[in-house]
Amino acid sequence: MLPENNFFLTLASTFITDLISTMPEKDSSDKDLIFSFQKTRSNKIFEVIYDRYSSFVYRKCLLMTDSETDAQDLTQEIWIKVYFALDTFRFESKFSTWLSRITINRRINHLKRIGKLAFSEGIEESENGSLPNINNCLDVTKLLSRLSIETKALLTLKYVDGLSYEEIADITGIGISAVKMRIARAKKELIRYSTGTNSKNL
């Protein structure tokens, strides 16, 4: 049996044990981390979440913007939104899905706002009436840089973010048929390039 003057020590020890048990570790699940963040609003916990998903968000921003400066601005905007919206996350979907949705919306809005993205219903064509000739491209970066930022955004939304044509049409504000057509043409060119490169390498 503990002496009476040890009562406060026991109380303090229980408090510290409770505190430690509520502090998530680096390998905690997303759910534990977010739950702890919602309870404590601790910046340390938010940093663990950031470290886990920062590359995921940053790469998607780079894919859309092709500019490190824009991608960094956009990443910052997204994570600040996540910080203040995390309280509203109700664990109805996976955290990565929720984060993806925020990332997609912010990316599109940001690009529209800075005037780098202006979707139109028409099919873009180069001066001679066809898509840019990409057969002579030396690498993927050069190949993709020949696509307009709108087409690249559509391809990213479809193949990296995994959205349906309907969802893309909804987000970008252009018709489903225009989305389908532009993606199909860009896809055809990319596949042709990819096949050409692979066969050259054989």
């Binding site: 193949y159 990296v160 990819s194």
Partner: protein, 65 residues
């Protein structure tokens, strides 16, 4: 076939930035901005509370001034 094509396009798009990591200073910048916003919100709250208190309009949750 369709799945292979989709996978190929995804791989092509992602291959550009596969090894890219966000710079460390970005994290510092984000955390500083968050701290700034939190401080600003706190100051706005205190300013509103102080003003309402001076006007005799501040009420606690129990309804007392």
């Amino acid at each position: 076939m369709e799945i292979n094509e989709e996978e190929e396009i995804r791989r092509l798009l992602e291959s550009q930035y596969i090894d890219v990591l966000p710079p460390q200073r970005l994290k510092v910048s984000i955390m500083r901005t968050i701290e700034f916003i939190n401080t600003f919100k706190e100051l706005c709250f205190l300013y509103t509370k102080g003003t309402l208190y001076l006007l005799g309009q501040w009420k606690t949750e129990g309804g007392e001034s």
